[in-house]
Amino acid sequence: MLDQLSLDINGLTVNYGAFVALRGVTLTVGRGEIVVLLGANGAGKSTLFRTISGLQKPTSGSITYGRTNLVGLSPEGIIRMGIAQCPEGRLLFPELSVEKNLVLGGYIHRRDKGGVKDGLEEVYALFPILRDKRHQAAGSMSGGQQQMLAIGRALMARPKVLLLDEPSLGLAPLVVEQVLEVVQRINAAGTSVLLAEQNAYAALSIAHRGYVLENGVLTLEGTQQALLGNDAVRSAYIGV
């Protein structure tokens, strides 16, 4: 875990035109942590993720990874720093085979042929269904299968920080369980994780810490225990 650094977001503000999607968000993903980001629809979770990955330019604020400022870097540059994302909506390559999707997930390591191969084996071990369907076009798989592929593709980049934007969306309960287990395993192997979830209980149960985002503003921050015990969190995100 020596090459682990922390991801620090400071006073981040993001606008869509005149609309302020994020306002002064400050948040940290420490080395080796699993951090959960809770928030209702439209709270700005995906916006935050997109901004970290360089798909969206912030209006102000900073994002630093170790000593490097990520603001202004291209998405390519950011993924090279070791920050990979499994995005909302999956953004797969629907007409390419499952395996090609995964291989492209390892695009930044393309010179390391053996490494990419090992990565493939690891992903197939995590999601055996992907191995069965590896020659099928990604777009013709079911929603859940595609979600697994999207996670697998992000893992192929061998990230140091993994951003997971609602990975359980549309997944069967059994698979949600698997996915969260996988997240824990990845984390145990040394990857920090920032996880956005609607499924707050499940997410908090594997997380170290968490934040609550409402209308673009961070309103709450705490450890797993603190958040699980918080009444507001319980009523808004866990359900009774």
Partner: protein
């Protein structure tokens, strides 16, 4: 609830479809319980959405029959199915993105209209009558789902939850008997899910029949009267939530042992 042939709404016999080599749905026999909340669950890729696409006329089955009120509707095209009284929503929220709410819902009323190009050119009374009826129906549907008609923004700018409600309103505007909802609660939070649950209950209170795909087990187990479980395109179980929940085949294929969901 007993179902005699004339109270039957929708029934399928030996329904199946194959994509190339893949049998996405196969040999499914199923009868929708009228005026109740019916659910279809199953692992990802089980064939649930495909099953809906068959029922709503989007896919043509490669085997079996679909009966609507006792009549064979297996080959009826999608828009005719809607006219018969089967409305649906899509797994990824599907809307007329650049149009405002009211226009979206008005389009749902279109199937009851008979007016055409000439009515428009000649401004016939039929056109005006239909237009009024359509607006009434649309505002009823919006009211039903709890939205106001006056938001001029394109629906693409609304929240996920509002978009889901709009898509249900479009379905309701077609004046259906049976509503197929494909994962209506995906991507919305527990609070909103509760609201949606209430909305679905209200639909059956109004005499509608609901057929629902969902992965949120809390919701399904609370809401559904009857559940069918699909796995690899085949029906592996069917019954009340209690029955299904305890079925070992369902547990091993879908629910798993944990309680995180």
């Amino acid at each position: 609830m007993t179902s005699s042939p004339n109270t039957d709404l929708l029934q399928v016999e030996n329904l199946g479809i194959a994509f190339g080599g893949l049998q996405a749905v196969s040999g499914v026999n199923y009868r929708v319980t009228p005026n109740a909340i019916n659910a279809v669950i199953g692992p990802n890729g089980a064939g649930k959405s495909t099953f809906f696409n068959l029922l709503s006329g989007f896919y043509k089955p490669t085997s079996g029959r679909i009966l609507w009120r006792g009549q064979d509707v297996t080959r009826v095209p999608a828009h005719e199915m809607a006219k018969l009284g089967i409305a649906r929503t899509f797994q990824t929220t599907s809307l007329f993105k650049e149009l405002p709410i009211i226009e979206n819902v008005l389009l749902g009323t279109r199937l009851r209209g008979r007016s055409g190009v000439w009515d428009a050119i000649l401004r016939t009374s039929r056109l005006k009558r239909e237009e009024n009826e359509a607006r009434e129906r649309a505002s009823w549907a919006l009211d039903f789902v709890g939205l106001g008609p006056n938001d001029p923004r394109p629906v693409a700018m609304l929240t996920q939850e509002a978009q889901k409600r709009v898509s249900i309103a479009i379905a309701l505007a077609t004046n259906p008997n049976l509503v197929l909802l494909d994962e209506p609660a995906a991507g919305i939070n527990p609070e909103e899910t509760a609201g949606l649950t209430r909305l679905i209950r209200k639909m059956t209170e109004h005499g509608l029949t609901v057929l629902l795909i969902e992965h949120k087990m809390n919701m399904i187990m609370n809401l559904a009267n009857h559940i069918m479980v699909l796995h690899h395109g085949q029906k592996i179980a069917e019954g009340t939530p209690q029955e299904v929940q305890g079925d070992p085949a369902v547990i091993s294929a879908y629910l798993g042992g944990g309680s995180r969901a």
